[in-house]
């Protein structure tokens, strides 16, 4: 028997029992829809987590801190210093794209007649592009840069004219662009300010350094927005100069920012000072792929360092919602199983009703395979129609869920563009395709036993039945 004839005959047989077929198809539709919608809720949840985590900064960056220096690793070894050697070691960990030390310094900057206190972040110039800092004007930092900087978008807003008025600081005008100004930097926090009466003047004047703004950072939602990024070595140099100047003036080592962390233990052990460093306070390690992040973090933690990545939050969120999503999926699967039982039931009924007919077609030459196919295809058609209707209904339900904002998690997140509504349900293309594919497959499986039974009926027994 030709497949085309079988397809045609099976659909014709289904059509004979319109009501029953329709009810069975409805059952499959509901089962299919239940699975798709339940999955779509879970998928939307995960997507929303992702969106939220992306707000927090780059998921593929791991912040490594040296808080535990002088302590022991989990397996009892001394924690090594977080130095260049360790950095080189980080870069050999599988999945690591690069690593850079990070230091923060707080200095005074002057541009034209405007000044501002500025937070400076020092990173390796060649690592700049790896950190996915969006440059919207000019260029990123690059190897060979020294007194160059890339400026966070909001930095310019903090500049003011200290000499404009007695009572009020005049902010820099709109469109004030550091790239177009002559910029100098100083570790004297009074640099550029109007000298105040009664304020002690430093013994030695701090010599300002000329710096050049080469680029501007766009919105990144992170610390870069409000900071100036400079090559690590340059920031280090400023730090040393600042300490020297402080000493010259007061002999003490106070100053703007303290970068290199000296733990009490290290000091007590006589390891403090410039000669015996514990290394960098903070390092950023960049992973090549999001799936590597957790493994990399584990390797670094083993060495005794503290690690932090937004992916931990994502993981926590996923863990918290995993139970809920499993329940959702369970409900979906359950309803589909009920639908499949419905199919099997329908098939058994129609085989029972058509026993004699099966006998007749056996007498006139239907092969076992023909009969099995005939019934399997009936189940298949039910699955096909149920799947199509189920997907259609899923889209409708998904639309309604989103429209009326029925939500299982947060319904809104804050982004730089403002509050953004999160979808409660999201049906990706692959889910649609899977529903179209698996609905008929599952129906075929449901039809397997009934169609075998039809096939195995003995001719004469089937004919005798009325």
């Amino acid at each position: 028997m030709k497949l085309r004839d079988t397809l045609f005959l099976s659909i014709k047989n289904l059509w004979r029992r319109k009501l029953r077929t329709t009810l069975t198809v409805l059952g499959v539709m509901i089962g299919c829809c239940a699975i798709v919608v339940m999955l779509s809720l879970g998928i939307a949840m995960e997507r929303n987590f992702m969106a939220q985590v992306n707000q927090m900064g780059n998921i593929m960056q791991i912040q490594v801190y040296n808080y535990n220096y002088g302590g022991k690793t989990p397996d009892g070894k001394d924690i090594p210093p977080l130095d260049d050697k360790m950095l080189a070691h980080f870069e050999t960990i599988k999945g690591v794209q690069g690593a850079t030390p990070v230091m923060n310094l707080y200095l005074k900057m002057m541009a034209g007649k405007y000044v501002s206190h500025v937070s400076i972040i020092g990173i390796k110039a060649e690592m700049f592009t790896l950190l996915d800092i969006p440059v919207i004007e000019g260029r990123p930092l690059q190897e060979g840069d020294t007194d160059h900087m890339v400026v966070g978008q909001y930095v310019a807003q903090n500049f003011y004219n200290p000499k404009a008025s007695r009572y009020r600081w005049e902010p820099a005008p709109e469109g004030f662009n550091l790239m177009e100004e002559k910029v100098t930097i100083s570790w004297d926090m009074n640099y550029g300010e109007k000298p105040q009466k009664g304020m002690p003047q430093p013994k030695v004047k701090a010599k300002p350094v000329k710096v050049e703004a080469v680029g501007i950072v766009g919105q990144s939602g992170s610390e870069y927005d409000w900071s100036v990024i400079m090559p690590f070595e340059t920031v280090m140099k400023y730090q040393k100069e600042m300490e020297k100047w402080n000493k010259q003036n007061s002999g003490s080592s106070g100053g703007g920012g303290r970068i290199i962390y000296k733990s009490a233990i290290a000091v007590a052990a006589g390891m403090g000072g410039n000669g015996t460093d514990q290394g960098y306070q903070r390092v950023i390690v960049k992973a090549k792929h999001i799936d590597d992040v957790v493994d990399i973090m584990d390797s670094i933690k083993e060495l005794g360092y503290e690690c932090y990545s937004p992916i931990q939050i994502l993981d926590d969120m996923k863990k918290q919602s995993a139970g809920l999503r499993q329940i959702l999926l369970g409900i979906g699967i359950m309803s589909f199983i009920i639908a499949a039982i419905g199919i099997a039931n329908t098939m058994y009924m129609s085989i029972y009703e058509r026993t004699r007919e099966i006998g007749i077609i056996k007498v006139i030459g239907a092969k076992l395979r023909d009969i099995q196919r005939l019934f399997m295809l009936e189940a298949w058609w039910i699955g096909v129609f149920g799947g199509i209707l189920g997907v259609g209904m899923s889209y409708l339900l998904s639309f309604l869920l989103n429209k009326f904002n029925v939500n299982l998690g947060n319904s809104e997140i804050w982004t730089p563009e403002g509050m953004v509504k999160l979808n409660s349900s999201y049906i990706p293309i692959w889910l649609t395709a899977a529903a179209f594919f698996f609905s008929p497959i599952a129906s075929l499986i449901a039809g397997l036993l009934p169609s075998r039974r039809a096939m195995k009926l003995s001719v004469m027994k089937a004919l005798r039945q009325d």
Partner: protein, 243 residues
């Protein structure tokens, strides 16, 4: 005359509770090519069972059945289905048409299972229905036809795949006398045209007039074999002359 069906010491037992009923109890016989053979006997004598055995619808408990060169008692169910498809037609007392299909579709059904393309099988079915005089009933469902018309459809269906042998189990049992003769004329006519062998079960003595031989069955055994009234079958005459 060469035998197209050969039965050798065939038994068929049925179990009814603790009792064993021998529906066919040691039958050996031959059906000749091109003949119209009548099986007669009282109700419950085992005629239907014998017919089902010969058509491969049931398996003998013992003994061998050969059609042409094939031992059909040794075939499995799939092989039997194929064999029936190609070589056997069957006509039932209750017609056994598929109630949801039209006359045309019912007749085309055996050809569907043979894999004949739709156009071709519809053409053949149309010819056959015209042949049994149902030219204007092609699109009718069985429920919209009289018993005689339904039996015509089932006759057309039995001949659809040009079988070597057509078996008929009391084909006229539900019909009135006039229709019975019509039907018998039709079947024997068709069998003659295509040089087909027919085995007809009946307890209607009038029908035996159409047969070349009448085999009388009683209690699952052959009681006697009679030569039928010659009804001017040139073919059988010719063969007889040759022997």
């Amino acid at each position: 005359m060469s035998a197209i069906i050969t039965l050798d010491n065939v038994y068929r037992a049925y179990r009814m509770g603790n009792e064993r009923i021998m529906a066919v109890n040691g039958i050996s016989m031959e059906i000749y090519e091109g003949e119209i053979c009548c099986l007669q006997g009282p109700s419950g004598s085992g005629k239907s069972t014998l017919l089902h055995l010969m058509a491969g619808l049931e398996k003998p408990s013992k003994g061998s059945i050969t059609i042409g060169k094939t031992r059909i008692d040794l075939l499995n169910e799939n092989q039997l289905a194929l064999f029936r498809q190609k070589h056997v037609g069957f006509i039932f007392q209750n017609y056994y048409l598929i109630p949801t299909l039209t006359a045309l579709e019912n007749v085309a059904m055996p050809l569907t299972f043979c894999g004949v393309p739709r156009k071709k099988r519809m053409k053949k079915a149309k010819e056959l229905l015209e042949g049994v005089g149902l030219k204007d009933r092609m699109k009718h469902k069985p429920s919209e036809m009289s018993g005689g018309q339904q039996q015509r459809v089932s006759i057309a269906r039995a001949f659809a795949n040009n079988p070597k042998v057509v078996f008929a189990d009391e084909p006229t049992g539900n019909l009135d006398t006039a229709t019975t003769f019509e039907m018998m004329n039709l079947m024997t006519e068709m069998a003659k045209t295509w040089n087909q062998t027919m085995v007809i079960v009946t307890h209607d003595t009038e029908i035996s007039g159409y047969a070349s031989r009448i085999i009388k069955i009683r209690d699952g055994k052959i009681e006697k074999i009679e030569n039928g009234r010659d009804f001017n079958d040139e073919k059988i005459n010719a063969q007889k002359n040759l022997v």
